[in-house]
Symmetry: C2
DNA sequence: CTGTTAGCGCGTTCAT
DNA sequence: ATGAACGCGCTAACAG
């Protein structure tokens, strides 16, 4: 009598079968209608199962009429695989660089994985987010936002694979997809020095941001290579507005820089606009501006910024691929997938003014 | 003997308890460690339950040492509420207007709901997406992308609440959050006519896009009100590039328009850049440009576009609020929350040239 | 190839 | 206030 237990909670469910309030069909309902066992139904919805043609068509017909779909939640409960991937992005990243989230979502979808989206803008946010992700049994975490070392360790201890996107910890092996712009920074600086620039400035991102730190380091090293003085520096927060503020601060002093390198495109756009439209100096005539990312907007005709592009599409695919392999083999060695950047020449740099 | 069934599948789970491969703690594990029943543990994690202080502290201590968190998947299975909301956005929307997704996510988070993100760029995409959402037992769908009437009906028949964001069907009541720019379009057109413009053009969005259709209709009506000839029209796809193409097409003919209204900011930016930098005409001196949305970028100093802003933050909060109330009262009357737009004056319009 | 059986981890009666 | 028992919808052994 397994199939007919009393239903004390929702007696109306059977009392008015054609009412609007009917519950969704389960595999039992399909089995009953098709006159087969419940497990037969289950098998029909499992890709590689062995089912006779007759059985399959009977079941599928019944499923069709009942609008039945397997319950992914229940399936996840028993298979221990939710097919949910937590994707962590900062508000800023998504704002300035929406392509990242978009491509990640596409790549995950293509592999049958669903995106549980979280925005994290502080370490405290991250704390709550990883608890949430854990409660929802995510199969993995892709983090393009801040995550503390302790938070990372919490996840790995709980056997949750984590793939970092353009973030990493020093002295701690992690699965990571990463764009290394070292060579292109060299090229860029060399080109600028070749154009006669000798007074450089750097508009940085947030102090604690790894991407920014790395980019600073590379720019400084490249300048040293060329025997040029280190750059004047300004700390921004990756926003357009902070780029504009930086332009004010850098260009109104004595001996202003003739070349400004920004840690991302958005600040470069702010810097360029402020320089050109508020301070009334020519870009690139008076000041050359370059940056990192290679976003769509940075190439608009009003900007045409010389920038160092990351191969975002391939990076996102790599992140998802890495995630998939970790899901199948959690014990494997940590892997680092490094991509080469590309120097995208624009019209925002030119010869240094006399 | 409920607590000690044989475990044929994972004998190593108990064989080496301190191995790296331990499974996550369940409420049973916590109960055993605390010396109480499983249901007691369950109650301790339910907000309004009646538990003694002693019990609560015992359980919490045990939960702490085992790093126990309730399994949201299992909970969802039994409570029939997943706390998952499917959010549907088009690639374009997220690209041009990332704030929408960001604010929706924030608002949902604040109410304890999680975002299951889907990108849908065609009706075929939507088909798969609603199946996926349904399989994952989402508590509701917020759609800022295309959804056919049939697809909407599929969802409502399945008792899944749907809230539309700036989309609607004619002659079909739906829950919807919507920005009505009618008054501001009137203002804008009046202002342009007052500045002497008489030859208007309209850069539309995709033919099937409702937002675009509505905006076209309003612009045409407002022009008729002012006894001005209907606009020359060009179909774009909301992208920067299509705005640039439209500028080429519209401005190189005889009797070119002196005022161009674009169905969104991104096309206006493309149109403005093309006009100014490729066609060599002054904006706003030769051509005035205005648009819809009020995105962050449209206000950058290179653009400063006169645009009709939507109150996105409040709209997103309203969408989530609507979603919540539908989740509690699925049978309620459909509700339409209409928000007033705001005309944001920029420097992209001026007197018509003589 | 098919049906039977036993849980996945939890919330929720119903007794006590 | 607490515990025993049940079942949410499904997959996976196992037996036939």
């Amino acid at each position: 009598m397994v199939n007919s237990p009393q239903r004390p909670k929702a007696p109306e469910a059977q009392a008015r079968p054609s009412s609007g309030r009917r519950r969704r069909a389960t595999s039992y309902d399909v089995a009953r209608l098709a006159g087969v066992s419940q497990s037969a139904v289950s098998r029909c919805f499992k890709p590689g199962a062995s089912v006779s043609k007759a059985m399959r068509s009977k079941v599928m017909r019944a499923a069709e009429t009942l609008h039945y779909r397997p319950n992914a939640i229940a399936r996840g409960l028993i298979t221990q695989r939710s097919h949910l991937i937590a994707v962590l992005v900062s508000g800023r990243l998504n704002f300035d660089y929406p392509e990242v989230l978009f491509r990640l979502t596409e790549a995950l979808s293509a592999r049958g994985l669903r995106v549980l989206l979280f925005t994290v803008d502080s370490e405290a946010d991250a704390e709550g987010v990883i608890e949430q992700a854990w409660q929802f049994q995510v199969d993995g975490v892709i983090s393009a936002s801040h995550l503390s070392r302790r938070q990372y360790e919490t996840l790995t201890q709980r056997q949750v694979p984590v793939v970092f996107f353009n973030r990493y910890f020093t002295n701690m092996p992690t699965d990571i997809v990463y764009c290394d712009p070292a060579r292109q920074v060299g090229e860029l600086v060399e080109r600028l020095v070749g154009l006669g620039h000798s007074r450089f400035a750097l508009i940085r991102g947030p102090k604690a941001n790894m991407v920014s730190q790395e980019r600073e380091r590379l720019v400084e090293a490249a300048l040293a290579d060329q025997n040029v003085n280190g750059p004047a520096a300004f700390f921004g927060d990756f926003s357009y507005e902070s780029g504009a503020l930086a332009a004010d601060a850098l260009l109104t002093g004595s001996e202003p820089p003739t070349a400004i390198i920004c840690a991302n495109d958005m600040m470069a756009m702010g810097c360029l606009d402020q320089t050109r439209h508020r301070l009334g100096r020519a870009v690139p005539g008076d000041v050359s501006i370059a940056s990192f990312d290679g976003t769509h907007m940075s190439q608009f005709a009003s900007y045409e910024i010389t920038t160092i592009r990351q191969p975002i599409v391939r990076m996102c695919e790599a992140a998802v691929e890495l995630m998939s392999s970790r899901a199948h083999d959690p014990g494997a060695e940590r892997e680092k997938r490094v991509f080469e950047a590309q120097l995208l020449p624009g019209s925002s740099i030119a010869e240094a003014p006399a």
